[in-house]
Amino acid sequence: MPGFITNYLDKNVHVTPGQYGSPFWALVYILLVFGGVSLAVVCMNWLERKILAHMQVRLGPMRVGPHGLLQPIADAIKLILKEDIVPEGADSFVFLLAPLIILVAGFSVYCVIPFGPTHAITDMNIGILFMLGVSSLGVLGIVMAGWASNSHYPLIGALRSSAQMVSYEVAMGLAVISAVLMTSLNPAGTGTLSMIGIVQAQYAQHTWFIFKFFPLGFIAFFIFAVAMVAETNRAPFDLPEAESELTAGFHTEYSGLRWSLFMLGEYAAMISVSSIAITLWLGGWMRPFPNLLQGPTWDLAFSLFPALTFFGLAAMTFYSTMRMPKHPYFRIQTIGLGAFGGVFVLIALILLIPRVRDGVQDVYWFVAKIAVFLYLYIWYRGTFPRYRFDQLMRVGWKVLLPLGIGVLMATGIMGLRTEIWDFVHRLVHI
């Protein structure tokens, strides 16, 4: 094995490849994250259609593969084979560039997302600032797409979304600052913007920030949770692509692969903002109760969760396999579904190997928390009507912004309460 691999492994370093300064390992991590996120987007695509369908008393995709499992692949093939249309009169350079910008912005933020204490491509000193900054680049792509299409619906969609995203970034930023402020509550008094640092601060303070200074942390989290739905243009804030008003908003004129890049970017952005929320308020990669339930017994118990999850998935798959129609027409699908369950069992068995078990722990908890958020996204979409543009702006500027400022100030006061108390004490005793 070449030296740069063994060195990194032997050292058992507690840093990310970016900090370790190894381009090779950084590349490996980048490929892993890129592949993982793409896979997650494919799974999310299938899950969203199935979950939404079951919420709406229908079945969703059922034809392509058992329970429509191969539907995302069929869709991908369809989209790739479709003609790439550039409308007449469109600014073709900007038109072709726009989806790429959205994609790059959507995926760049994964540079700093910590899936575990060392499972990140790199850890930046300005991690959270970088994430907010780069994810705000996505709006550029939307604006460019809307303008370059040379069509009215995309233009209105782009105007809406740029106004919407810029507005909600303000509230989002305030909520983030209040969480960053909480990281500075240590003896040294210095906070951090680093994503890994924020999670470690939560570990050090023995609480997730959502429960810190209850209800302040919760309100900040709530502001962020609302703003992040608006940032990703999802229901009920999906005005830029409101299909009943603007047909498809900024991507009305796009087709085939370029359209799918927009979708990929949107889902990637959904995952990335969810991971910001998780890192800032929900303890990042930490398992529940890392301080309270300490010790080897608890460690072992919690480390069994990944394998149990996959066993559960396998059980669900086998149950569905048994319920498949017995008609010979469905034989291949039944075998396929059974094989799928087999794969789950295999993964679960691999996850039981002690070294793997300990290695994937952090990633597992992080992904599990992301899954909760993604489910919420789907749930919102099934439940809520769409906001109107002026109402959306009102919620952003008149509700979330004052609330954010209030929470920020209250957090500051709570953080300095002993100092303030001392000051008042001294005033009284003068």
Partner: protein, 384 residues
């Protein structure tokens, strides 16, 4: 569509008042291929940013010349054509036509036929309102109610199918009564449906009525006063939501409606939310009427004595009924032959659509969608 002399000013009039600031006015062509125009309605929107400065409806994309066809068909042959106008409430269309011709022939349908007519028409009203609710909610962004309402509408269509073999364009009634006797277990099916659907209506209300976003999207949107409604000839739930207690089932009772006890739900503000509430209440009232009709359905013949070749006396007649969307009227001129000299239909959707410009002016683009949805238009009926 709009009358230049009325208070509803015409788009051209605004042209002269244009200033430098209006240079960025955006003209958007919504439809005829658009997901939220309920078919092939084309709306030319004039926008200032997101605000609607005015709009013009372009209709006729679904024009089939139904009224002209009537002049070359006998009275009986024309009966199935009326189903193709408001295809989501085909039973009501048929009822209106049959009653108009019966009035012209001076005959009356037997009581049992009238009861069957009421049951089917009210079931159809329910189906029409369910379809309206689903699409209206979908336009405003709530996806889920659409699937709930379609699931429950299916049960109504099943009853229709069992009764006359067709689901949508039913052709259920004949001039002089009904063609078919009810099938065995008809009453049982209807009663089963009533107990099935009552909690489902609560379910729709649970999803929407108190939903904050829904209320914000519909309250004070597309408001129209009772005066404007009457001036424009708007009828049906839109008129009742503006506070006018006018329902032809009570005002000029036809079929067997005199025998039933039901309320006319009305609103006060005439906005989209009130229209929503009025239609929801109407669904419940329909259930009440159906329940009473099924309980008291008399025995007897279902067809009056009608000659095979209908030759109504020379004359003209106007008869209107309360269709799910408003007043549906038939004006028939007879020259004494087997074919009508002229038939003119007064479709509620066509007349209600006139109010669109008035209701949308000064609102936002998103409200246009909500208002089109709340008017509950069916383009087959608008264009005929």
């Amino acid at each position: 569509m709009t009358d230049p002399n009325s208070s509803v000013s015409h788009l051209e009039l605004e042209e002269s008042k244009k200033t430098f600031l209006d240079a960025n006015e955006l003209v958007i062509n919504m439809g005829p291929q658009h997901p939220a125009t309920h078919g092939v309605l084309r709306v030319i929107l004039r926008l200032d940013g997101e605000k609607v400065m005015g709009l013009e409806c372009v209709i006729g994309y679904l024009h089939r010349g139904v009224e002209k066809i009537a002049e070359h068909r006998t009275y009986t042959m024309f009966n199935p054509y009326v189903d193709r106008m408001d295809y989501v409430a085909a039973v009501s269309n048929g009822l209106g036509y049959c009653e108009a011709v019966e009035k012209l022939l001076n005959i009356e349908a037997p009581p049992r036929a009238n009861y069957i007519r009421v049951i089917l028409t009210e079931l159809n009203r329910l189906a029409s309102h369910q379809l309206w609710l689903g699409t209206h909610a979908l336009d405003i962004g709530a996806m889920t109610p659409l699937f709930y309402t379609f699931r429950d509408r299916e049960e109504i269509l099943k009853i229709f199918e069992k009764y006359c073999g067709a689901r949508l364009t039913t052709h259920a009634f004949r001039i002089g009564g009904c063609q078919y006797e009810t099938y065995e277990g008809f009453e049982k099916d209807v009663k089963k449906f009533l107990t099935f659907v009552a909690p489902k209506i609560d379910e729709y209300e649970e999803l929407l009525t108190t939903n904050r976003i829904w209320v914000e999207r519909t309250k004070k949107v597309g408001t129209i006063s009772a005066k404007d409604c009457i001036a424009l000839g708007v009828t049906g739930p839109v008129l009742r939501a503006s506070g006018v207690k006018w329902d032809l089932r009570k005002a000029q009772p036809y079929a067997a409606y005199k025998q039933f006890d039901f309320e006319i739900p009305t609103g006060q503000n005439g906005d989209t939310y009130d229209r929503y509430l009025v239609r929801m209440a109407e669904m419940r009232q329909s259930l009440r009427i159906i329940q009473q009709a099924v309980d008291a359905i008399p025995e007897g013949p279902i067809m009056a004595k009608v000659s095979k070749v209908m030759k109504p006396p020379v004359g003209e007649i106007y008869h209107s009924i309360e269709a799910p969307k408003g007043e549906l009227g038939y004006f028939i001129v007879s020259d004494g032959s087997t074919q009508p000299y002229r038939i003119r239909v007064r479709p509620p959707s066509f007349v209600n659509l006139q109010a669109l410009d008035l209701m949308c002016r000064g609102q936002l683009v998103a409200d246009v969608i909500a208002v089109i949805g709340t008017l509950d238009i069916v383009l087959g009926e608008v264009d005929r």
